[in-house]
Amino acid sequence: MPGMGRSSQTGNSLIVSDFHSALFRQLLVVILIVVLCMVGFNVIRTVQYRRLKANGQTSFPKALPSLVAEPLARRFLRITFGCLWILDGLLQIQSSMPLGLPAGVVQPSASGSPAWVQHLVNIGASIWSDHPIQAAAAAVWIQLGLGVWLLVAPRGRWSRLGGAASVGWGLVVWAFGESFGGIFAPGLTLLFGAPGAVILYVVAGIVLALPERAFASPRLGRVVLGAGGAFLIGMAILQAWPGRGYWQGHGGTLSAMVQEMAKTPQPALLSSWLTSFATFDSAHGWAVNLVLVVILTTIGVLFLTGRRRFVLVGLVAFVVLSLADWVLIEDLGFFGSLGTDPNSMPPMASLLVGGYLAMVRLPATADTPSAATDLATTVAHEIPAVAAPWWERATFPYVTRTMAAVAAVAVVILGTAPMAMAAVNPNADPVVSEALDGTPNTIDAPAAPFSLTDQHGNTVSLAGLRGHVVALTFLDPVCTTDCPLIAQEFRRTDQRLGAQSSRVDFVAIVANPIYRSASFTNAFDRQENLTGIANWHYLTGSLGQLQKVWSSYGELVQIIPDGAMIAHSDLAFVIDAQGHVRAELIDDPGPTQTTASSFSSLLLSRIDQVLGS
């Protein structure tokens, strides 16, 4: 029925099963990639062995002790953020992600932001909504791939490229998925996740993409900690700013938000912690905020000093604070809504710990001649640094890690390619419409004949359209909601048919027993810019004629009194050139542009089937 505001639930079974099928299919591709890499590994090792043997050597080259180990800070950041990407990828597997992410995460996060941010975010949300399966599956594989990539490639170009890839994907997620972490929205606070978790992944990615010589001095660590300190002082100022609701206890911003979080489904223990904190903040809001402001300012100042002892004290304090915030306010990040990451505190704490390690644990050791050695030049530090052919240099760990990195990159590409294709395809996938309206009925029965008058006053009958495929629907010319959208989807389908359009007629029959004259069909056509379309026929007739057609096609039309529009079924039929109904579709355009445009894809696929049969 028009305008009944139907929408797909995020747990829609069709979408969920398609999502799982897509993930399973892509998993098979991943397994294939892994197998191919293993084969590749064996081929390389076989060729290497034969070359070595031909040159009189009987064993593979052995790995030499590393001159300089991977800097501890770098290893810490690489492994931590690799694990975080994998965790995020696993969270993307949630069943409600395809339909739930745009409406449940992306758009709400942009709701308080300026119009340009909302516009930008809506572009991303539209792409996701139009292609929910492709997008959700792509996000899984991109994030899992990035995580594995960072974990398996410890040194050299492969590893730095992994950091750069983290930066690229992180920026996409931060802009389109997190609305820039809400930095342009009012109410910004560190406590709820500012400046967004993923921008911290981006910062970590930048650090990992730097040449290893950047870790040779404490400067990098100082820069990271100094930036963190300045950021924390800025956040303290915002926290202290009057009028933002943080000094207020009962009914204040913090307690209200935490209370809301506590209401979401989660283990009772966590919920009780949140409720307790919200109650405490309600009673002592002013004191809580004062403590927070003081702590944040102090930690920020300690970081800015750049002195080892002060920084350590600040770091310990920040780790404790971030843990408390993560548990009592951020609700571990996964709870509270459709969780896509563990929120900002774990990555922020990790980043600052990494910064501290970069400051205090320099890679240069006593037996290393120069701390300023460009460690990047020792890409294959297991390889003897002599100009020998590759088979004399490639060690087992080097080949293994290289092949693993190649596999990880392939997995990232496996996600990126369909995502890119989805981004450039303006037509929503048919599955969205099927999720809303059900899968079309495939039938093969003679279509009920009709002979009515079109918008030009000409008689049009089904028999007269024999030889053409007919897409038939029922439209109310004075409808205020669905019918104009359905008409536009018919028009879009006609355009997408291209040259095949000449073999198809689009027919609408009036579905209003009162406003049914040709003047109304003409007015509707003018309103919807349908007047110039040669194969568009909007038919009407006497009430008796219309009722007969409605009845034979199962179209229910009901007058609803007192200011409501006519209620009628949203039905569409695809009739083949021989006059047989081949498919029956529900064409309720749904609540969004996505659900509406998806119907066009579905109708097009059914018309293509009939044209091809």
């Binding site: 029925m1 028009p2 305008g3 009944m4 505001g5 004075v478 409808c479 205020t480 909601t481 104009p484 959208l485 209003n512 027993p513 009162i514 406003y515 049914r516 004259s517 003047s519 109304f520 007015a523 003018r526 309103q527 007058i559 609803i560 009194p561 007192d562 200011g563 409501a564 529009m565 006519i566 209620a567």
Partner: protein
């Protein structure tokens, strides 16, 4: 040394004076602009909540449902037969009217126009020859303006064919006759600006048809106390609106209601000068215009509903910052403040009875969701009492 100090002080003083002068000029400019804005805003929008009473019955247009949510607001046409004070819903079926409806009456018939809403951008019309029990569908190929008298209906006394006038959302007056298959432009604002330089026409406010079938067009006037009312004779337009005198001599005006019946024209005017606004009723006969005393409106008040009776009796419902007030005036009389109307009153109407105008009853309509309660004034006119309750089956969600 002293001279230098004095020069410095004088120089500083001149600079201070210049700054103060500039600030004063800016302040004057801002206040002037604000005043001009208020004057322009004086052409206040006429509320759709309206009633018209003729010898053949009374019709009320009012919103029901969830009034703060347009897609769940369902406008109703409520009817009382001549001689009856019992009201019933007579909303034409077949189209969603969430954007509002307007009605034009003549000789017992009523023509209802549906305002564009949702994705509907033209205006279906419904014509009922009697009490709204049966309707025939007609088409206005453009969108009606959201004005209570945007639609006028009548019959040609000589040829007997029906005719209609409409103000469109694109600020045009168009008309049609017969089966309304062809609508043509009747007059443009540019034409009327040439007719009356004093009025400084700012847009169409209402249309009506004289008993002769000739069109009457009302416009807002940007100042000069002129009332924008224009009549056409043989295709030539002339200004027939009077000029307000006294305190309203330089006011801008807009017409909230325009009704004709027999030889009488009743017009409800909103006149604004600066931040002061007043309501004035004009009664026109062949003898000329009589003008009511102004009814000053509180500064934050806005007219919420209007009711005009063919004899010229006019009632208004005014919403203030706190509460509402109702007032009524009869031709030749003065404004009478009525008891505070019941809470949630959305419209007032005067049932068509045979009682003399001065003692004619007045009903107030309150809405709570799908329930419409009717309150009448006691004969003494001192309090309201409930006379009727109507439950209207609203299809919530049907236009969402």
């Amino acid at each position: 040394m002293r001279a230098r100090i004095l020069r410095a002080v004088a120089s500083r003083s001149r600079a201070t004076h210049a700054i103060v002068l500039a600030l004063v000029l800016v302040l004057v400019l801002v206040l002037t602009l604000a005043d001009l804005g208020a004057a322009a805003a004086g052409a206040s929008a006429a509320p759709l909540e309206s009633a018209v009473t003729t010898s053949s019955g009374a019709w009320v247009v009012l919103p029901m449902g969830q009034i703060t949510n347009e897609s769940n607001t369902f406008w109703q046409l409520v009817h009382a037969a001549p001689g009856s004070s019992s009201w019933s819903s007579a909303t034409p079926p077949g189209v969603a009217d969430n954007g509002g409806i307007v009605a034009g009456t003549a000789g017992g018939a009523v023509l209802v126009g549906i305002l564009p809403n949702g994705r509907l951008r033209f205006s279906p019309l419904s014509l009922s020859a009697g009490d709204g029990a049966s309707w025939s569908a007609l088409l206005l190929p453009r969108g009606l303006a959201a004005l209570p008298d945007a639609l006028a209906y009548g019959t040609d006394p000589v040829r007997g064919d029906r005719r209609a006038l409409a103000v469109t959302r694109s600020a045009q007056v168009i008309g049609a006759t017969g089966n309304f298959a062809s609508w043509r432009t009747v007059v443009t604002a540019r034409t009327l600006r040439r007719v009356s330089a004093r009025c400084r026409v700012v847009g169409f406010d209402a249309v009506a048809l004289e008993p002769s079938g000739a069109p009457l067009v009302a416009t807002g006037c940007a100042g000069g106390g002129a009332v924008g009312l224009f009549a056409s004779t043989g295709g030539a337009w002339r200004s027939i609106g009077p000029v307000l005198r006294g305190s309203l001599a330089r006011a801008s005006t807009s017409m909230l209601r325009l009704e004709t019946d027999g030889s009488t024209v009743t017009a409800l005017i909103s006149a604004a000068r600066g931040r002061h606004r007043s309501l004035v009723v004009l009664w026109g006969t062949s003898a000329g215009w009589s003008v009511s005393t102004p009814f000053p409106l509180p500064s934050s008040a806005r007219v919420h509903a209007t009711s005009v009776e063919s004899g010229g009796s006019t009632a208004v419902l005014v919403r203030k910052t706190r509460g509402m007030l109702a007032a009524r005036i009869t031709p030749g009389g003065s404004w009478l403040r009525l008891p505070a109307p019941p809470a949630h009153t959305v419209a007032l109407a005067q049932p068509a009875t045979s009682v003399s105008i001065a003692a004619a009853p007045l009903d107030a309509f309150t809405v709570s969701g799908a329930v419409l309660d009717v309150y009448g004034l006691t004969p003494s006119g001192t309090r309201w009492f409930k006379t009727q309750s109507i439950r209207v089956p609203l299809a919530y969600g049907s236009s969402g």
